[in-house]
Symmetry: C2
Subunit: 295 residues, 2 copies
Amino acid sequence: MKEKEFIEIIKNTIKGDIIGDDCAYLKDLGIVLSQDNLVEDIHFSMKFTNPYKLGYKSAMVNISDIAASGAEPKYITVGLSLPQNTDKSFIKEFYKGLTDACENIKIVGGDITGSDKIFISIAIIGSAKNRKISSRKNAKPGYKIIVSGKHGASSAGLKDLFCGIESKFSKIHLMPKAQIEFSKNISQNIQTEYAMMDTSDGLMDALLQIAEASNVLLDVDFKKIPYDKEIEKYENYQDLILYGGEDYQLIACVPKDFNVQNSFEIGQVNAGNGVEINGKLVKNFENKLFDHFKK
Amino acid sequence: MKEKEFIEIIKNTIKGDIIGDDCAYLKDLGIVLSQDNLVEDIHFSMKFTNPYKLGYKSAMVNISDIAASGAEPKYITVGLSLPQNTDKSFIKEFYKGLTDACENIKIVGGDITGSDKIFISIAIIGSAKNRKISSRKNAKPGYKIIVSGKHGASSAGLKDLFCGIESKFSKIHLMPKAQIEFSKNISQNIQTEYAMMDTSDGLMDALLQIAEASNVLLDVDFKKIPYDKEIEKYENYQDLILYGGEDYQLIACVPKDFNVQNSFEIGQVNAGNGVEINGKLVKNFENKLFDHFKK
């Protein structure tokens, strides 16, 4: 049983049509809305992180979803469930991390309850005012594919953490940064429809999602994907770059003549279906993609 | 360590000023926002409920928060974390229950992940358009105290469930109804500031919260509180009525001359501090109030 199958069942049951992007765009209210769950020992382990970093990352993960839509992140609420023996310092440090991640974003409420393990659910609202909102359905043949930065660092960092190593990669894994400026540069200036996603579940996952939703072929040149050269020391480092999750970079498909500061062009959108890396169609990727229901 | 102490720490850490009501009122966006967590074996047990009823109640709990603000419930997102062995029928039934509870409310997204136990976090947005939004700070001496309906039924129902009895009370416990009409009747028609809360943590908890936030004395006549006469058969039934949670009724403090259809006047707001039941100040209530960090 996989996450995507569950989502299909949900779509069929609620007969809704808005689910699909990282955020729901609620046009009548001029806002986008997103929510993410983080569960102890599934998404994070207290062996590797601390309450401050956990708070920081919890916020960033959600800010990244808003960035992916092109909206301006504005407000968050925090649903926090904690074991009974949790002490005051956890809460204090967690909220410090959360606050430090929430530059120009207000924490306006939420819920706090007991639980067995730590469970964090954050809802975030962005304003669509003066922004053009993205959709992963909007990639069109002729567009270029751009990304905001380096891939593979976060999953290399997780490997380091498992080996007990603190490194620049482990820091990126524990305290990612949402690409707010990249998002703003596009959504405040673009005139046409465009596709954008974050690469929280990996670059390949994002490419496949956009290709499927837009019904296009995404043609990617591997050597153009930015990554830290030090990643080459890891076994199968190409997989870290393509399939590793949690870099929280943005990928966008925009018209060729639309310039985005500090972006990296990694390929182009063609007519067709799927994703090609160096001219080769990507197949049999299922077991490489990240899925919380698979261990 | 108690829930309210945690909330104090949070307030001091984030230095925010909006937390306090069931919902955050985001005036610049014209919306209210709320989020609630429901954790297996803390808030519910699969021994007593089923996926359909769980979905239904999960939505209602959140709709009730919006009702408490006076706003119109519009959109929800659902963060659902489920054990790996969860099957398709759970998701289907859960979302059926959710959909049935969401009359005129759209389910627009969320997150689905793995977990150890079932964890549900729902975020809900209400529109403030043509509604006057409540605050628990707004009770004023001279106002009357009204409630939307009967209290004590839900906690009597939980007692029944523990004894293996299915009753009209257990039904109320498992499938509560948010008081949307009561809320709308007030917020669409009232001209002045008013206080409103739901009684999810018990009538007494709501009275104490309003009294403290508004810095007033709430004078309640016990015999005016509506309840089902059959509750009198339970031991200490007055405690079920005053302290029992999860009835999801609304309590409001409104001007004496403001009439609300289908409301029950249970007392009045006076100058002073605290809550009086039949003229006697309520003290030493701490061990009776509901707290998720206490067992």
